[in-house]
Amino acid sequence: MQKILIIGATSAIAEATARLYAAEGAKLYLIARNDERLQLLAGDLKVRGASSVETALLDVNDIAAHQGVLDRACASLGSFDIVLLAHGTLGDQKRCEEEVDAALQELQTNAVSTIALLTTLANMMEKQSSGTIAVISSVAGDRGRPSNYVYGTAKAAVTTFCEGLRARMHKHGVQVLTIKPGMVDTPMTEGMDLPKLLLARPEMIAADIIKAVRKKKDTLYTPLPWKFVMAGIIHLPERIFKQLNL
């Protein structure tokens, strides 16, 4: 029976992932900031077969609260087999260009909070010398694009942080998985005019995440074609890239 901690549990991608683990009978500990949705999710996972579901409220930007919440989660589960970090916001890029506070807020939610959580979690996982830390970053962190470079910067920080953390944790038998989804049809992208064909469903991302955890992968591009798309984009010379309005 897997013991799973999810932070940002009400994210559509996290929900879909939790449902797959629940069907396998996992024990889940869910952390999010909206209690109404957290309770709905907890009920849903129980119906699907989770052996137990506990919840806790946390605004990830309340850094002082991290240690306490994580300690309680650990006490409840006993240890962590899998920790999934899924919270995030896709802020308004235009606003981030106009208001310093907006830009910093984006970095706070998408990078600083994640790095803080990972720092605490890494020390807990190092002690237990097992398990997986899976972090949802994004293809947006692979290259700065005019349409979302503040968000992209935060995700790049998370990706780089995870890369270093992976090498550190490797010696302790802890897997660090960096998840880089492409465009996914979730509340985050709702109302954006994205080509339907390129939008993956959260269930597809969830299935890929589960497989990558099982296979002890380091980095997951999901759905897979993004791996090749991003390889192309990463290698575009800057003099060409800067002229594209991506």
Binding site: A12, A23, R37, V47, P187, E190, G191
Partner: protein, 435 residues
């Protein structure tokens, strides 16, 4: 955002709201201050029932709320899809009491259309298995409705096409099964008279539906394949089909015209040589033959298509079906798959479609000449005492609607008494004079 139903006709430019909880739905209704909003599930209704200027997509209200393994009652939010229910509960030995021909519909949509399946003659409609539902009727009201609690609203909401409020959640009685497989028998009928007789002979079979050729005339008028089936006894509760997807995956994707349609119908009919063929098939291909072909609705081209589904009372029987089929065959406009079924008794839901008799559903590509043909079919159906299915419709007139559903005034009175008229609306409700 540009929105359409499954038939891709008509298309509207709508504002789409996606509240994530019932509280957010109520907040939205408060903000809209009585401006009309149209509930939207998975958009599998064909025409304009789920379309409006302001649409409320239930999509994120998709949680299972509770399940009682003793009684099989599942309480779920409205956007849970039938596919999701099957995937979760077939392995536990439970099946849907009633399912339409696609699993990509929501619980809310199934209730709003009071959908029927291949077992209507023995099991009735979807809402006949709804224990109760929670209806959001305004910024401050959620009403539990059932045949005993707020019964008037319950019978107006079941089949009420979203015009009485947002179904937030419902409790559905699932049915126990021991297998995910179906024992299927296919019977060949060489004309209309034979197929109607076959339906009578096999009325005790739990599932039955016929594919009918709407192109052939004369002595072959109404030649059909009747498919009957029941859940296999042997225990095997897997969700994924093993192999052998059945027809109609081989549909030609080229332009549809009377020649390709005729060829397809002939091939389909002759794929079975014996008069009776037995097979063993997974519930997927048995109930949802088209679900394995993504976006098959694009096949009809850019103008879209409509599905015409009518029912005529049993008493009108053979002569009615013969006259209507002759009109369709004579027009040369039929579709690939026309589906024929014998319905059981009508229920008490005001705008529910099924009545005891025969129902036929067929697709037509949208083209200007189509509309006069459908008007003509309308008047034939009405003269025989039949009606047309709202969830498939994109064009029936106000007068036709009123004759199809003579209790419309009672429906309207319930909407008015509860302050729902105008608050929950659709393109269809405007076209048919309800708003």
């Amino acid at each position: 955002m540009k929105m359409h139903g499954w038939g891709r006709y008509p298309e509207v430019d709508a504002e789409v709201f996606t509240p994530q909880t019932k509280r957010e739905v109520q907040e939205l209704l408060g903000r809209l201050q009585g401006q009309g909003v149209t509930p939207r599930g998975l958009g599998r209704s064909y025409g304009d029932s789920s379309l409006g200027d302001r649409m409320l997509s239930t999509r994120w209200m998709n949680h299972l709320l509770s399940f009682d393994p003793e009684s099989g009652v599942l309480y779920a939010e409205a956007a849970v899809s039938l596919q999701e229910i099957l995937q979760t509960f077939v392995p536990k030995g439970w099946f849907l009491p009633v399912t339409p021909g696609t699993q990509f519909v929501t619980v809310g949509g199934a209730i709003a259309s009071d959908v029927h399946g291949k077992n209507h003659h023995v099991a009735g409609c979807f809402c006949d298995h709804v224990e109760y539902l929670d209806l959001i009727t305004g910024p401050d009201t959620i009403l539990r409705c059932s045949p005993v609690e707020n019964p008037e609203l319950f019978h107006a909401t079941c089949g009420g096409m979203g015009l009485t409020g947002i179904v937030y959640a419902a409790a559905i009685r699932l049915k126990p099964v021991t297998s995910a497989y179906i024992d299927q028998t296919t019977h060949k009928a060489s004309n209309l008279r034979e197929i109607l007789e076959l339906f009578a002979v096999h009325e005790a079979e739990p599932y039955s539906v016929a594919w009918i050729d709407c192109i052939s005339t004369g002595s072959s008028l109404g030649r059909s394949l009747l498919m009957t089936g029941d859940h296999t006894r042997q225990e095997k509760l897997t969700v994924k089909a093993g192999s052998g997807l059945s027809l109609p995956v081989d549909m030609p994707s080229a332009l549809l015209n009377r020649h390709t349609i005729r060829a397809f119908n002939t091939l389909y009919y002759h794929r079975i040589r014996e008069r009776v063929v037995r097979s063993h098939t997974h519930y997927g291909p048995f109930f949802y033959p088209l679900d394995s072909i993504g976006d098959w609705n694009r096949m009809y081209g850019g103008n879209g298509f409509t599905q015409y589904q009518f029912v005529v009372p049993k008493a009108a029987g053979y002569p009615a079906m013969k006259a209507i089929l002759e009109t369709i065959a004579g027009s040369g406009k039929g579709s690939f798959l026309a589906v024929l079924k014998a319905f059981g008794k009508q229920n008490r839901n005001l705008l529910s479609f099924p009545m005891e008799g025969y129902t036929l559903a067929l697709d037509f590509k949208i083209e200007p000449e189509l509309f006069p043909l459908l008007d003509r079919l309308d008047s034939m159906v009405l003269d025989y005492g039949g009606r047309i299915y709202l969830t498939k419709d994109a064009r029936m007139s106000e007068a036709t609607f009123r004759r199809c559903y003579p209790v419309w005034e009672q429906f309207q009175a319930i909407r008015e008494a509860n302050g729902l008229k105008g608050r929950f609306t659709s393109l269809q409700s405007k076209r048919t004079g309800l708003d």
